[in-house]
Amino acid sequence: MKIIVLVKQVPNTSEIKIDKLTNTLIRKGVESIINPDDLAGVEEALKLKSRYGGTVTCVTMGPFQAESMIRTLYGLGVDHAYLISDPKFAGSDTYATSTILSSFLKTLEYDLIIAGYQAIDGDTAQVGPQVAEMLELPQVGHLHAICGYQDGVLQVEREDETEILTIDVRLPALVTTLRRMNTPRLMNAWDAFRATSKPFTLVRFGDFPVNELKIGLKGSPTQVSKTYTKVLVQKAPIEKVDAKEASKKILALLYPYLGVK
């Protein structure tokens, strides 16, 4: 099976803190990691490769720094990686990103594309389905498990709020994976040692056909109008109160989360 996994290097958002004095994000010292849902996808791809043979290729779009992620992916046993990186792609929203990715993917051969369900920085879960649409591939997302493959059909389990559905999807197709569906393997020493010098392909604008009007900031249908960090409650001094007053104070703080009008 020729499997492509879409991966993204992201900041470890659980480490990001807000500076309580300035209400700005402290991004310094936050490590970059492989997006967990994507890593689960890589693990599934490697498992499929052990079972059915074939190749696992990773495609990522990002700054040159993403090379460090490619090294780790090679250490896990990924066969080849493409890094799509160009200033012209900067500022892309999910639609533009998906346009770039799908335009590049059209130049590759594949039976299955695996994407992580959601990236922990953007949190949109949009790229997988958008790429599937642009490549006109059937999609099954939010997977609980990949069960097996036979005669051009992949069997998977999709989970939703109340059910697990067993689904057959005809390849080529795109599926999206969840971090909780497996435990990713550690690198092994054989691959890790070779990974440092194993070549990958840097893909620039101009290396593949893509509609220039649909990329980057200008090509993005959505725009950010403003951003703000969550305003943190300044630490209040300790106060002695009676039970009734305490309840009122607590209620006032809970109010925005209660979904009542």
Binding site: G75, L186, W190, A192, T196
Partner: protein, 373 residues
């Protein structure tokens, strides 16, 4: 030079698999078979083996980095890896025939077989040359009888490098090395030793009762075993220097964390000069030990003569390990004595590094020998 990805692998492996078992295997005196199996599947047992024998083909610097990192969390796991690699893999790579390499190295690389080394006898410790185990030629075989004590990885290892007298009249020059596999008739084990530290490490006597091995089991030249032993121990020294450094680093990390949190007299004890000076001393020792270790490993990787460097690294690192762990325990006070805090295990583990694979006295003999040459 150290490979950054391998370092990342060692660190992740240590946190995920080595650290969680450290206390248990010490308290239960249990050999961590599951960890060894995982080390095998992740390629950690074949770090120094050439790629064409199924190994990783990494450097000595990388391999001892693994020993060092594991030892920060568990000295037992560190020595299991060190004994396997320095004392079994290394001599086969260095002295083995093509047939022997093809036969044993792939098994050692994949983790199918664990390695061990048997030189020490009841009457031959530092005086290693006073071997009494004999290997008598009988036709095309050697028949080996005798015993070895304090053997690391005993019982769990499959492949043993064993030394025996093939020519008693020649003394030191009559010792030969053999590769012997577990399960061969006549080869059995004595009771497991109850040790002060590295309790998860399997240490037992090896008993050879008329064990018959073919001539092809000879490792290195006939009667050249002493050279094989000394050459092997030179490398083993670097492994133990790494283990000792790891133990010191593990203790240091814990004590730094502790002194920042422990409040006495209204301040964290890290605010007191005594603590700060002690930490500075510990840090200096560890940094010096790190540089000595790297120097020895790099010389070995560059094909230079490293036996003085290795002796210095082991002598120094084992001493500072004992000192750093002692100071760490003192700074932890009463808590340091409580098993939950793990410093006491490191305290018990540290001392052996001044004793095995050549006592500190042996290291001094090597260093003085070079000085006075």
């Amino acid at each position: 030079m150290k490979n950054a990805l391998l370092t990342e692998l060692f660190q992740k492996f240590a946190l995920q698999y080595v650290k969680p078992l450290a206390r248990e295997i010490d308290e239960l005196e249990r050999f961590p078979q599951e960890t060894v199996k995982l080390m095998g599947t992740q390629g950690l047992l074949g770090l120094t083996i050439d790629q064409n024998y199924g190994g990783v083909g990494a450097s000595t610097a990388d391999y001892i980095n693994a020993v060092r990192i594991f030892s920060r969390y568990c000295a037992t796991t560190g020595v299991i890896l060190s004994a396997h690699t320095s004392l079994c893999v290394d001599p086969i790579m260095k002295y083995g025939t093509e047939e022997q390499k093809a036969k044993y190295l792939p098994r050692l690389a994949s983790g199918e077989s664990l390695g061990a080394f048997g030189l020490t006898e009841p009457n031959a410790g530092t005086d290693a040359a006073s071997q009494q185990t004999k290997a008598v030629l009988d036709g095309d075989d050697y028949v080996i009888s005798g015993s070895k004590i304090f053997i690391t990885n005993a019982i769990y290892a499959d492949i043993y490098i064993i030394f025996a007298l093939t020519e008693p009249s020649l003394g030191t020059k009559g010792i030969s090395a053999f590769i012997i596999e577990k399960g061969i008739p006549g080869f059995s084990f004595g009771a497991k030793e109850k040790k002060m530290g590295i309790r998860g490490s399997s240490t037992s006597e090896l008993i050879f009762d008329h064990v018959r091995v073919p001539k092809s089991a000879l490792l290195g030249p006939l009667n050249g075993g002493f050279g094989v032993a000394m050459g092997t121990l030179d490398g083993g020294r670097i492994g133990i220097a790494a283990q000792a450094l790891g133990i010191a680093e593990g203790a240091f990390e814990r004590v730094v964390e502790y002194v920042k949190k422990r409040v006495q007299f209204g301040k964290p004890i890290s605010a007191f000069q005594n603590t700060q000076f002690k930490l500075a001393e510990m840090r200096t020792k560890i940094r010096a030990g790190e540089l000595l270790l790297e120097a020895a490993a790099n010389q070995k990787d560059n094909g230079e003569n490293y036996n003085e460097s290795a002796a210095i690294a082991k002598l120094y690192n084992s001493r500072i390990a004992v000192e750093v762990v002692d100071d760490a325990m003192q700074l932890l006070g009463g808590y340091g004595y409580i098993r939950d805090y793990e410093i006491e295990r490191m305290y018990r583990d540290a001392k052996i590094t001044e004793i095995y694979e050549g006592t500190s006295e042996v290291q001094k003999m090597v260093i003085a020998g070079k000085v006075l040459r």
